[in-house]
């Protein structure tokens, strides 16, 4: 493996380290414990400068899928190199409204608006910071 590839792998593992302890909005468990995220969840294409994160909601009709996506983006936003483009999606076939969830999670205007909404903000913060408990 080239040094670059090793660095990239380390980077991916580091990202997982940052997000594995995020608490599920509906369960007292972390996303990793619920198998929402695994080490295969993050792929990095260094040449194109892209990061793709796929997660697997616990059930097909998970109403919190968009909140989980917001949590991932929020938690990682300060750890991405600024020139990288980040796409967050549910794993193919893992959600009943896959297309609409993916569209919403990658519309940055809706994401920005959601993070300015006090109720959603509080929910995301609870998921992100209760992990220390």
């Amino acid at each position: 493996m080239s040094k670059k590839a090793v660095d990239l792998l380390k980077f991916g593992i580091m990202l997982i380290h940052f997000v594995r302890d995020i608490r599920d909005p509906e369960h007292p468990y972390s996303l990793e414990q619920l198998s929402v995220l695994s080490e295969e969840s993050i792929t990095v294409d260094e040449k194109l400068g892209r990061i793709l994160i796929t997660f697997t909601p616990t059930i097909q009709h998970c109403s919190m899928a968009t909140v989980i996506g917001l949590c991932l983006r929020e938690k990682l936003k300060n750890h991405f190199p600024p020139h990288f483009k980040v796409d967050i999606k549910v794993a193919p076939g893992s959600h009943a409204d896959e297309e609409s969830v993916n569209k919403q999670l990658n519309d940055k205007e809706r994401v920005a608006a959601a993070m300015e909404n006090p109720n959603l903000r509080q929910l995301v913060d609870e998921c992100l910071y209760s992990s220390e408990l």
């Binding site: 020139h83 483009k85 569209k103 519309d107 940055k108 205007e109 920005a112 300015e116």
Partner: protein
């Protein structure tokens, strides 16, 4: 102007720093940058402020005013009235503010309330008598400007099934265009008898969110851009055939393969150059081909500026003055001023 024989490129004139969050939108003040009147630009941001930039005598832009402590959330869009006397700003705080410009001062003289939540776009009609706003509540509102800085809501237009990203008036007639997360563009006109506004056409050629639309100077052609990575050209069939009625708009050309991330903004210069700004950090310029007019107009790439910004390009706007100035706004928190120059040799 002939763009066939020469190479052109966008040259960076200046990088404007001051916003502390992503810059969503820029708007040139009308009739500035021409006949010795210094160019004036407004920019709005996720930092909840609007900045006014003015070009000084040596051609350098400086921040002349910061409009703050009015909006409590992101300012998503801004638009000057045709006279340049007013600036309207649309915010995620559910309001649209009207600022009166006196000298170097800006005073908030009105706040338009009505949308349920985030307002995403605002546009003045060509005479400055009507204002349109749109937002996450899927509605488009039309407001009439009355004496004494009063604004009356004259219509609330329902029809889109998802949030309405942008509203834009046609420059030559009071026809309103709106584009949406529901992948469509809708065309709205006022019924002359009932004075009610209604949708006369839904343009559904796009396969994802339509982020922005713009018109050529005469208003008989429209360009749209989308999350489906295309730029589309539309013509007003009726006017093209010399009929001044509300004939349908027709899709005539799709430009694809030029951007590989969401295209957020398009704008048509007075002399016919289309600029597009996208999440791939690039700005593209397109012009109409002079040949092959049989099947309607076709367009070609004039120039592409890779890495125009360090992050997504959210807005591109041509100045209408003496020089071919383009302003762009980005997630990197900066506004850039570009000049389109002919390459020598």
């Amino acid at each position: 102007m002939n763009f066939d024989d020469d190479d052109f490129e966008l040259r960076e004139i200046q990088r404007l720093e001051g916003h502390t969050d992503r810059v969503w939108s820029v708007a040139w003040k009308p009739d500035t940058g021409i006949n010795g009147v210094p160019a004036v630009l407004a920019s709005c941001s996720g930092d909840k402020t609007v900045r006014i930039w003015e070009q000084n005598s040596i051609g350098s832009f400086q921040c002349q005013a910061v409009l703050e402590e009015t909006h409590t959330r992101t300012v998503r869009s801004c638009a000057w009235s045709p006279s340049g006397k007013y600036l309207a700003t649309a915010s995620f705080d559910a309001t649209t503010a009207i600022w009166e410009n006196v000298g170097v001062d800006f005073e908030c003289v009105s706040s338009l309330e009505g949308h349920d939540n985030e307002v995403k776009s605002v546009s003045w009609n060509a005479s400055g008598t009507l204002l349109a706003t749109s937002g996450r509540d899927k509605s488009v509102w039309i407001w009439e400007a009355l004496p004494g800085n009063e604004f009356d809501c004259v219509s609330v237009l329902q029809g889109h099934t998802q949030d309405v990203k942008m509203v834009q008036w046609n420059p030559s007639m009071d026809t309103l265009f709106s584009c949406s997360y529901d992948n469509t563009i809708k065309v709205w006109v006022e019924d002359s008898d009932s004075e009610d506004w209604h949708c006369i056409q839904t343009l559904g050629e796009s396969t994802s969110t339509v982020w922005s639309v713009a018109f050529n100077a005469s208003g008989d052609k429209m360009v749209s851009c989308s999350d489906d990575l295309t730029v589309k050209i539309w013509i007003d069939v009726g006017r093209m055939q010399g009929l001044h009625k509300n004939a349908p708009w027709k899709h005539v050309c799709t430009l694809s393969g030029y951007h590989d991330r969401t295209i957020f903004s398009v704008h048509w210069s007075r002399e016919g150059i289309i600029a597009s700004g996208a999440a791939d950090d690039a700005i593209c310029l397109f012009v109409e081909n002079n040949d092959n007019e049989v099947d309607g107009p076709t367009f070609k790439l004039l120039s592409k500026k890779e890495k125009a910004h360090e992050m997504d390009v959210n807005s591109v706007q041509w100045n209408t003055g003496d020089k071919r100035l383009l302003a762009s706004a980005s997630d990197d928190g900066t506004v850039k001023i570009w000049e389109l120059v002919r390459l020598s040799g």
